[in-house]
Symmetry: C2
Subunit: 222 residues, 2 copies
Amino acid sequence: MPGSSSIPRDVSKLKFQISVSLDGFVAGPNPSEENPLGEGGEQLHEWVLKLAAWRQPHGREGGETNASSPIFEAATADVGATIMGRDMFGGGPGPWGEDPWQGWWGEEPPFHHPVFVLTHHEREPLELEGGNSFTFVTDGIESALTQAKQAAGGKDVAIGGGAEAIQQYLSAGLVDEMLLSVVPVLLGGGRRLLEGLAPDLGFEQVEVVEAPGVAHLLYRAA
Amino acid sequence: MPGSSSIPRDVSKLKFQISVSLDGFVAGPNPSEENPLGEGGEQLHEWVLKLAAWRQPHGREGGETNASSPIFEAATADVGATIMGRDMFGGGPGPWGEDPWQGWWGEEPPFHHPVFVLTHHEREPLELEGGNSFTFVTDGIESALTQAKQAAGGKDVAIGGGAEAIQQYLSAGLVDEMLLSVVPVLLGGGRRLLEGLAPDLGFEQVEVVEAPGVAHLLYRAA
């Protein structure tokens, strides 16, 4: 039956969610191996770490439910594949070595779908528990997106981070939807997300949601 | 009667409202005398220029009423004095000259209360119609604030702009409340508002409002 196994590309969006400070930073100044979020950067994520909707898939108990919960759930529920930069996967800047890094997330990462890692260093795919697979893509962001959309089976593709990977997709005009979660802190320096982007990248406001300690701003490509 | 004529300083807030692009700019790149808002900067103000609540005090007819209207009205209704930088008042960078500049607003500016202009060039106060007065303050932002609070008679003091004046008050930790109106455009460059500010400036989120084509984020000093 023609079409039954084809990918409905028109409904599969490329999207990301990221927490950003009032002054536009997604990580604070002076990031280090011990503190990759930079000085003060951990404050950007407090709102999500206390959500039950975040804690449960990360194997932690408790947590609260508030106006951020449906936002977080909607951003993650319909995702069939994730793309991430090498920094987010971890393992240092060089080649993979003989006892290769398996990511930050232990035996069963919280994705439960195929993940595509942007890297310059080839490596065989990695299969972990719970439907988690990591495919290492060395031929660019468009190749990673094509592979991720195929793997997502009609669901959305999320850019997990970091900021550099997101910026590459934004610059290329490939992002369909972005959720900026604005946290009322000033970091005074660090890594900006929306920098050096051409003004002809058009976005329209879809939804604005007030939640405890964070403002969620949802935009889609115009 | 003691206290009857004293200024209730604890309820008189210093506040500002400003429109900001998604990438954090309050004016676009390459501002000029003809286009002081820089390339694309006029897009930041479209939401307010079409409000009846803005048009009426500026002597224009028509306009619409939407979710931005009460936000704009609340930001302006309880203001008893305005502080602005020399750029916003206009008149060029030098001294005032013999036929001095009277501001951009004609015979009856839309403030209808005392305005204090931060400048390096002394000048006698200027009285215009409709309760508009302009006092030129050469001895710094704290002096201007003291004079403005006195003149406001218990009402709030607004910083009218531009970005430099706002930054000076933010840096000095003197701002009580700020309303950022985030417009879904990318300017790609220009003048940032929240730049070089110390992380110990604490703000807490007060209110988040979704309106057509703009997200209003209200914060107060923590």
